[in-house]
Amino acid sequence: MAEAVYILCALTSAACAVLLLRAWRRTRMKLLLYSGLCFVFFTVNNVLLFVDLVLIPAGDLTMARTVTSLVASGVLLFGLIWDVS
């Protein structure tokens, strides 16, 4: 069950990234670009989560996961403050 939740998190975030970046290519709206990039990093984060908790339970990728979340939210926040508002 846990594995299913982690895999679904990775798949849904990847789907969000693809949809947002496709919409950005069509409309060139900056907000869509930053949201898309944010979800690219969320996808990396969720893949790391799966690797950390399921594939290599002995390893510890906690820091890498925290840093990817920080980069993801940082990219979006930068876009919102610098480019969009």
């Binding site: 069950m1 846990a2 939740v5 982690y6 679904l8 998190c9 849904t12 975030s13 789907a15 969000c16 949809l19 947002l20 919409a23 949201s35 979800f39 969320f42 989560l49 950390d52 908790l53 510890d60 906690t62 820091m63 925290t66 840093v67 979340s69 920080l70 939210s73 940082g74 979006l76 926040l77 919102l80 403050i81 969009v84 508002s85």
Partner: protein, 91 residues
């Protein structure tokens, strides 16, 4: 210690993003922004719960915490789908 600090920064960033989207929603009345705001608030809640309930790797195996994150992603997917459908209908 450093992880706690960074987790706090991530929580703050999520909530700030949620507030920006809430402002866009109030300005444009576009449902997309309301759903984005809700999703980022949920991600913040997930982060906070993670820090409180599962501060270390072993405790993090309480996978149902990640259901909160999954719901947030599904909200975003739903918001994009809703927006695309509205776009097609108006054409």
């Amino acid at each position: 210690m450093l992880k706690t600090l960074l987790d706090g920064a991530v929580l703050m960033a999520y909530l700030a993003c949620a507030l920006f989207f809430l402002r866009f929603y109030l300005q444009s009345k576009d449902r997309l922004f309301a759903l984005f705001s809700l999703a980022f608030t949920l991600m913040g809640v997930h982060n906070l719960l993670g820090a409180l309930v599962a501060p270390d790797l072993d405790a993090e195996r309480v996978y149902y915490l990640y259901v909160v994150r999954l719901v947030a992603y599904l909200l975003i997917l739903g918001a994009i789908w809703d927006k695309n459908r509205a776009g097609r209908a108006s054409r």
